[in-house]
Symmetry: none
Subunit: 406 residues, 2 copies
């Protein structure tokens, strides 16, 4: 009988030697008896999510880990953000990530409109009433965030961001990055869109009320991260499996939804440092019976890497490790534990350093490595592998893989 | 002066840890002083024939080891089976593997016509007299086996098997897997072919005689494994070498013939468990002077993997090892020993687990590994390599390889 598959993605887990940790990485320094037990009974290695030295995003990284070629399917973040908040997107459409912002006398004073929490639904309704001459949909998301989908024909996705990513300046009219008809059309449309959001939102009652109570009005929508919605065969077709994802952040949810996976919502799985790891582990255990494959993403490591906080990263790693105790009694399952990219505290951002990887399960060719970290992995039986191969390796181990040839 | 090259393919040698072998693989458990001596003096590694986790067939596996991309040249088993029994096949043709079967009142009663041994030549002659409106050739092979080649123009190879792979049911009319003109045409032709084989064979004197002596008549031909004959440049052109193959089974012979290699027939090399390994080794030694490169395939490991018999697999490995004594005195040769895929006794089928590989010869960068097995290989100097690279590595070592660049 086929076994189950779990891919536990410790987002940004990989790091570099840190001086104040005596040249160890946070993962090397952390006390991780449970991860080490999995490593001891498993087969270990290091993994280049896309390719050695290539710095993955969370989107391109997860695409690779699900067996897609990000160079084929990825042109920008927008479509995955849209899918991540539950919108249906279709090949041919172009999607943008957006912020509600505040503009005064032609200059941005706040890129997040005071992290507005209420009233965005009404503001979005007004935005959707704009007449652009092409079909579009704007959807508010958490706080100041939103998504714009252009549904017209012949649209390009290679246009610059309207969001200037700073305040004190005007918004940047979008320009085609590749100068052709399709991209020009898209640039014109979102320039018109942005202009009209200012017109329509400035006098909106919600904003009048905000201003009267001293809050910055949400009087502009700032699109960025244009991306063409790709054609992606679902995992059920590509790999013959039914998959589900547990993830805190919409971007990862979006990638998984686009791969045809169900999204399992776990209360308390926030994608932040406060995320309820125990609830995530329990969620995996209570749902695995219904799926061939679950991908669970835990984000905190990445946040602390971005913030450059080695000791806090160690603490978060140890908190994860304690909770892995609950995974140990799962049977008939192959578990891969790895990252989608490294986020070294010394880099304060993603890096192309390989991530450590372990695969645990009944029939793996376990090796002599008994510690889960960046350098121990280099001595393991997996050697150095690519992200695109991880799911195939798991499918083969779980006896779900299909033979190519006779 | 250039050295010779030998690729010794231990078909299905790779395995997984087996409980009743105390967590060792059959190869780890077996006593293999000769293999270990080759490993000690050689450079070792693990090898993904196609890619990590991808489960190769014997055909796609050998294609990769000969440097071809199976995703380019492989659409089905038929052409390689045809070439394997010595038929000339040409790009554009579509070939099928076939069985003589027995059908009664529209239902198959025997998929192998009682493993018919005599008279198939006369039956094949009758089949070849069928008027199909397109040029074709049917060739009987060993026992109930045969091959059908369609030689018309505009034929697709993506059609389902006529052979239902079970008895008690009717045969399955072929259907296009991809619904286009070419595949529809092929499906129509082989449906007509199959129908006519029943008409023409049912009253054939050979079958009347079989029935009168209580044997099942061979009164239907059941095509399966449709494949388009690929365009394959011979090794002489691709790699500049003259190659030959020693193999027991037609499928591997066929792949090697399609690669432009000579087939060396060795008496007693059966592809079964009874195969005469000593004769194969002697055959290598007596023929190597005439070639740059010999590939020899020994099949028994795969059979015992399929049958799930760890102890018997160990015995067969030890039998091989004893015979490798005779290889030791070969000079001026680079020898690679590996598998075309793993066939773990726990899987009872092919798997995507990497195969161990050793390369032995004068100038290899020998490493510290002194045992030939799945896990020792992971510590070797070759690290983890792809099947498609093995022949290039050997050509380079043997000083046959040509520089790319200046």
């Amino acid at each position: 009988m086929a076994d189950k598959i779990l891919m536990l993605i410790l987002d940004g887990i990989g790091d570099r030697p840190v001086k104040e940790l005596d040249g160890k990485t946070p993962l090397e320094k952390a006390k991780t008896p449970n991860l080490d037990k999995f490593a001891e009974k498993g087969v270990n290695g290091i993994m280049d999510t896309i390719a050695p030295g290539v710095i993955p995003g969370s989107d391109t990284g997860h695409l690779a880990l699900l067996g897609y070629d990000p160079y084929d399917v990825y042109t920008g973040r927008g479509p995955f953000e849209a899918a991540g908040i539950g919108l249906e997107v279709k090949p041919g459409q172009v999607a943008f990530r957006c912020n509600f912002g505040t503009i005064e006398d032609g200059k941005l004073t706040d890129r997040r409109a005071g992290r507005i929490k209420e009233g965005t639904e009404e503001l979005a309704e007004a935005v959707n009433n704009i007449d652009l001459g092409v079909d579009f949909h704007f959807q508010e998301a958490v706080e100041h965030r939103g998504v714009l989908i252009l549904k017209g024909q012949g649209l390009g996705a290679k246009v610059t961001d309207i969001d200037p990513h700073e305040t004190g300046v005007g918004y940047h009219p979008a320009e085609p990055i590749v100068d052709d008809k399709e991209n020009k059309k898209t640039a014109e449309i979102i320039n018109e869109f942005t202009k009209k959001t200012v017109e329509i939102l400035s006098d909106h009652p919600i904003n009048k009320k905000r201003e009267s109570s001293g809050k910055p009005p949400a009087n502009i929508i700032l699109p960025r991260g244009a991306g063409a919605v790709p054609e992606m065969k679902p995992l059920s077709e590509n790999k013959g499996i039914k998959g589900a994802a547990i993830a805190g952040i919409p971007l990862v949810k979006g990638v998984c939804r686009m791969a045809g996976m169900d999204i399992i919502d776990i209360e308390g799985a926030t994608g932040g440092l406060d995320t309820d790891i125990e609830a995530i582990i329990k969620g995996i255990k209570s749902n695995i019976e219904n799926y061939d494959f679950i991908l669970a993403n835990i984000k905190g490591f990445d946040i602390l890497g971005h913030d450059g906080l080695p000791h806090e990263k160690i603490e978060f790693i140890e908190k994860l490790d304690e909770n892995l105790e609950h995974l140990k009694d799962l049977e008939d399952i192959y578990i891969a534990i790895t990252g989608d990219h490294s986020t070294p505290v010394t880099v304060k951002g993603h890096s192309g350093d390989p991530s450590p990887i372990l695969i645990h399960g009944e029939e793996v060719r376990w090796d002599e490595v008994a510690k889960f970290d960046e350098r121990s992995g280099t001595k393991g039986g997996l050697s150095r592998i690519y992200g695109k191969d991880v799911l195939n390796i798991l499918l083969d181990l779980a006896k779900i893989g299909e033979k190519f040839g006779a």
